[in-house]
């Protein structure tokens, strides 16, 4: 198999596994966050405003981890800087 072939195959497999892991784990974390926010809200409904605010900030923090993973995967797939080494040879 040519260099380019191995490179493409490797990129594809790595991106598929990477994006799957990078989305599953933040999803678990977000599920736990929302569940404990709902528990707190059920226990004390008058704290709704600050619970909602803290919930959204926490969710954004966790979601940004999934976004980091997505950005790196998109870079590997579409704008791979290491491609220059293979094309050059």
């Amino acid at each position: 198999m040519s260099d380019m072939g191995i490179f493409t195959l490797g990129s594809t497999i790595v991106v598929a596994i990477g994006i799957a892991l990078g989305v599953m784990l933040p999803a678990i974390a977000m599920g736990r966050t929302i569940s404990s926010a709902l528990d707190a809200l059920a226990r004390q409904p008058e704290a709704e405003k600050s619970i909602t605010r803290i919930l959204f900030i926490g969710l954004a923090m966790i979601e940004s981890l999934a976004i980091y993973c997505l950005v790196i995967m998109l870079i590997i797939l579409f704008r791979n800087p290491l491609l220059a080494y293979i094309v050059g040879h």
């Binding site: 405003k49 959204f56 900030i57 980091y68 950005v71 998109l74 579409f78």
Partner: protein
Amino acid sequence: MGAEGFAANTIFSFGSITITSSIITTWVIMIFLIILAYFFTYRLKLIPKTPQNILESIIMVMHNAIQEVLPEHVNLIFPFISSLWIFILISNLIGIIPLLNSPTSDFSVTSALAILTFLSVHWYGIKVCGFKNYLSHYIKPSFILLPFHLVSEVSRTLAMAVRLFGNMMSLQFTALLILMIMGFLVPVPILMLHIVEAIIQAYIFGMLALVYIAGGIQIQEEKIIKKKELINE
């Protein structure tokens, strides 16, 4: 709705300054907002009619949101945070109109906004608490924590930029990919997600900027309150 990959589309360049489509869109949004603000506040009445009512309700919502976090210094911070909110909201939503790119899907724009927030944390901290007090809070719990404080400040600024950029760019990109692969009306659910995410990300960016500024101001506030209590006793 289309973004051709990651590169910003250069419209023209003179010398070493390149004008990309993000710059032109940003300027158009700015001019549009300035004209809108001028026309709505042209003659303010005590009993307002509909346009003034809408504006007042928007400003009240933002004012209350900031007041929950920082009761004392609302008027100091309100212009900055509300401008961030309005500008980022409009820039995010412009990506839905076909043939227009959101400026916030350009990493340069989001890092500029993040650097602005970073500098404003220091600015407002020094303005409220004084130069020495503000600098001394870096060494406060212990001197060993100084590198952690510095690294955390830099990394959270970078995280803000990447979060906004990643969300906007990936949504635009996904819509384009689905359009190319599947067909004409298929990206509609993705566009609905885009609208929701655009609004949420604008809210999050402003909220995080507010929380960081509040953190920079409030560590000193406790000391000042304690000093006042000691003086009053």
